[in-house]
């Protein structure tokens, strides 16, 4: 009785380990593994280098520059210098897992010191969970390194690769520390009345079954392709095996930085800013206007008409734009000649296209945003307007001081979403309007069209394409994190996550 009340008292305060000795031991293990991750410890050693380098068909001059032991973080430079692309993907994945492991292992003491999780009544559970994730990944890293050496030895037919002593240490320590942490977690769970994965699985196994298709889909469609960013660091070609193209480090990025990336970034961001600003202003304007149409039938009809372009495919848009702006028979040129002016060559003049693309973006998307804002407006209580009318406010004042301020939350949400995808382009819009018309690229090329063109027509530049895709993803990711961070500080209600 006294013991349990003593435990509960402790549980309410700052998180403290129930088993002090065990905790100290766990700390020591975690620290040891973390230290072993430091690049000064060599995870992969090369023995019998002469036979190995001749099996790799390396010249003596190139082989001479290579060292004979590598850490997990520098092994990729060995892959690059010795031109052994076949080892590249494996060591890239190992590098990522090692980083994940180090991250979790470093986050665990941080969570302990800042009392993470204690506020939610979870006590030390978060610390243990972080430890276990880190230890699991460090075990995978060590086992993967072992696997890499075995694979490399069998590939070259020479037993030239060997694991350093740190690998063996980690292989032994990680599972031991994992089990220790697991045991202490179990005690903690009893105290917090929480159950672990196995209990949850036994209780709700049918929900896990429901999730299987979802997992398969996102794994294939999103998560496994994330590993494919490896191609950004290769000189991709189909001649070597898909995963054996030469590893070239940051060469693709260097090339992109010199040539394409600046104007792609500029185009993508500028277009998106224009879309966001002009789009939202017009959407709000028309939502306000349409909400003042008093006859329901008229309102329905006009909403139906304005929303219609959203439903046609971009291919139809292509046909349409072509019919309007074509040189010989287009509607515009038809009109222009009929009033006695010269034909305009739209399809060879880059200057017109920013305007046209924005115009058709608006044409297709005004209806969508209008519907969103209209829903907010219909949600506004009529009492506000009645009170304002009694006070003598005219219709402009009602819009200015009631409708527009109440639209602000919706606007902010839409703005945040739009900012989050500021590096993504309206690919279908751009591609269908411009296509492969090279004369217009200067003003119309965005990341998505550039990458698409490479994918479909230039298989030899795929490494470059992946690199620009990765740049786009990372840049967008950073923008989202930053925006979310700022928003969370100023007004947590609007935060995305």
């Amino acid at each position: 009785m006294t013991v349990s009340s003593e435990r509960l008292r402790r549980a309410a305060g700052r998180p403290e380990p129930l088993n002090k000795k065990g905790f100290v031991l766990l700390c020591a293990f975690v620290a040891l593994v973390l230290i072993l991750f430091l690049p000064v410890f060599h995870w992969i050693r090369l023995t019998d280098t002469e036979a190995l380098f001749s099996a790799m068909k390396l010249k003596a001059s190139a082989a001479g520059k290579l060292g004979d032991s590598w850490s997990i973080f520098t092994f990729l430079s060995f892959v690059q210098d010795s031109k052994q692309g076949i080892l590249g993907l494996w060591s890239f994945v190992l590098l990522l897992i090692a980083c994940a492991s180090a991250f979790f292992l470093a986050a665990a003491p941080f969570a302990f010191l800042t009392r993470g999780g204690a506020a939610e009544g979870r006590g030390m559970l978060r610390v243990y969970s972080l430890c276990q994730k880190g230890l699991f990944f460090s075990f995978v890293t060590a086992a993967g390194t072992l696997g890499l050496t075995i694979f490399a030895n069998s590939h070259y037919g020479v037993s030239g690769f060997a694991c350093g002593w740190c690998v063996w240490t980690v292989i032994v320590i990680s599972p031991a520390a994992y089990l220790l942490s697991k045991r202490m977690e179990r005690q903690e769970r009893e105290l917090r009345r929480e159950h672990g994965f196995i209990t949850e699985f036994r209780r709700n196994w049918i929900l896990f079954l429901f999730l299987v298709p979802c997992f398969v889909f996102f794994l294939i469609n999103n998560y496994l392709p994330m590993i494919g960013v490896y191609f950004a660091f290769t000189q991709f070609n189909f001649r070597d095996h898909l995963f054996a193209s030469p590893f070239v480090g940051f060469k693709n990025f260097e090339f992109l930085l010199r040539s394409e990336i600046l104007h792609l970034t500029r185009n993508t961001i500028l277009y998106n800013i224009v879309f966001i600003v002009v789009g939202n202003v017009l959407q709000i304007l028309f939502a306000v206007l349409i909400s003042h149409v008093t006859r329901t039938r008229l309102r329905k009809i006009s909403q139906t008409m304005i929303f219609m372009p959203y439903f046609v495919s971009y291919v139809i848009l292509r046909v349409l734009v072509f019919n309007m702006f074509e040189y010989e028979v287009g509607l515009i040129n038809n009109f222009v000649t009929s009033i006695g002016m010269n034909r305009i060559d739209f399809y060879n003049t880059p200057g017109y296209w920013p305007w046209l693309i924005t115009l058709f973006y608006l044409w297709k998307n005004i209806g969508y945003g209008m519907v969103v804002y209209l829903a907010t407006i219909t949600g506004i209580s009529t009492e506000y307007y009645e009170a304002a009318q009694i006070d003598g406010a005219n219709i402009y004042q009602q819009i200015r001081f009631i409708t527009v301020p109440l639209l602000k939350p919706t606007f902010i949400i839409l703005l945040l979403y739009a900012l989050g995808s500021i590096m993504k382009g309206q690919f279908e819009l751009f591609y269908q309007l411009v296509g492969n018309n090279g004369t217009l690229f200067e003003t119309t090329d965005i990341f998505d069209t550039y990458v698409y063109r490479i994918t479909t027509t230039q298989p030899l530049s795929m490494g470059m394409g992946t690199a620009s895709g990765l740049f786009q993803s990372l840049f967008g990711f950073i923008v989202i994190l930053t925006t979310n961070f700022i928003i969370k500080r100023r007004n947590p209600e609007y935060a995305l996550f």
């Binding site: 979802c214 392709p225 008409m305 219609m308 439903f311 969103v372 829903a375």
Partner: protein, 296 residues
């Protein structure tokens, strides 16, 4: 409704009517150009260009299309196939997932929701995605590669979750659990029967996406047999456009190309079903967009 007492509001109402009529007309006008162009004879188009109203009305273009309809019928068939497969399987897996992350008694629902949401803020990019399907799974040329990649989207999963939490009160699920119902029974007997509007909305979003898709056909198709309708149209338009560009410099006999009016007739045939159903299903899209934007 509100009476116009305020004289100063009169200009507002005039401007409102003018702007709304203008935008409505602008939104619909292009469709009229396409339809009237498809009804105009090709010679008239070449001589006088496109215009708003059909002149020398003729059904020649439609007759040309349906004289040798194999290509378009095949494309139509494939489009129905993709739309059906994608919508049916997509609805099933989206609903299952949304049910799981809507259950408050499921410990990992936030983890799962985050894993789904994360895909919208970071990704490997187009090329790894393409290589995954085309080379790793070897699906190039198969129809699976065209409908599978759009089976689920985070937006639709979240939308469906909102529908589920909105239409099935927790109390109902709790009392069912007390009566001994497991998740299987709750899902099929309690949640699905009241989920009509949600299924309709999400299904229509899916169907619209599949119907209008050309992109995956362009990436994964190896023969015109598996082209979706939009890509069939795209290919037709594109080949003529390229030839026209060349014809400006070199003299090429443009008479053999699909004529302008035939292209427009194709466009009408390809969009027909969407615009036909649109007025009746519009409200589902409106409710979906509203719910998705406010809660999502």
């Amino acid at each position: 409704m509100k009476k116009i007492k305020d004289r100063s509001a009169i200009p507002f109402h005039i401007i409102k009517s003018v702007l709304l009529i203008l935008l409505s007309v602008l939104c619909v006008l292009p469709f009229i150009v396409i339809i009237s162009g498809s009804l105009t004879s090709n010679m008239t188009i070449l001589k006088e260009g496109f215009s708003l109203f059909p002149r020398n009305t003729t059904l020649e273009a439609y007759r040309t299309i349906f004289r040798s309809p194999e290509g378009i019928i095949q494309a139509y068939r494939m489009n129905f196939y993709y739309t059906f497969m994608g919508t049916a399987f997509g609805l099933l897996v989206i609903t299952l997932t949304a049910y799981v992350i809507s259950r408050k008694d499921f410990k990992y629902r936030n983890h799962v929701a985050f894993l789904i949401y994360f895909t919208t803020i970071f990704g490997g990019g187009m090329i790894p995605w393409f290589l995954m399907y085309a080379n790793v799974l070897g699906l190039r040329g198969s129809t699976l590669a065209i409908w599978f990649p759009a089976l689920m989207s985070p937006f639709l999963v979240i939308l469906m979750r909102t529908f589920i939490t909105g239409s099935v009160p927790d109390a109902v699920v709790e009392s069912a659990t007390l009566d001994g119902a497991g998740h299987w029974i709750i899902f099929w007997r309690i949640v699905l029967p009241v989920l009509g509007p949600g299924l309709a909305t999400v299904g229509l979003f899916q169907a619209l996406g599949y119907w209008n898709d050309w992109y995956r056909s362009s990436m994964f198709s190896t023969s015109s047999e598996t082209w979706s309708l939009q890509f069939y149209l795209y290919d037709m338009v594109n080949s003529t456009m390229a030839m026209r560009q060349m014809a400006q410099n070199v003299s090429i006999n443009t008479a053999d190309l699909p004529t302008q009016s035939v292209k427009l007739a194709m466009a009408v045939v390809a969009t027909g079903p969407v615009l036909l159903f649109y007025p009746f299903v519009q409200r589902y899209f409106v409710s979906g967009i509203t719910i998705g934007a406010v809660k999502g």
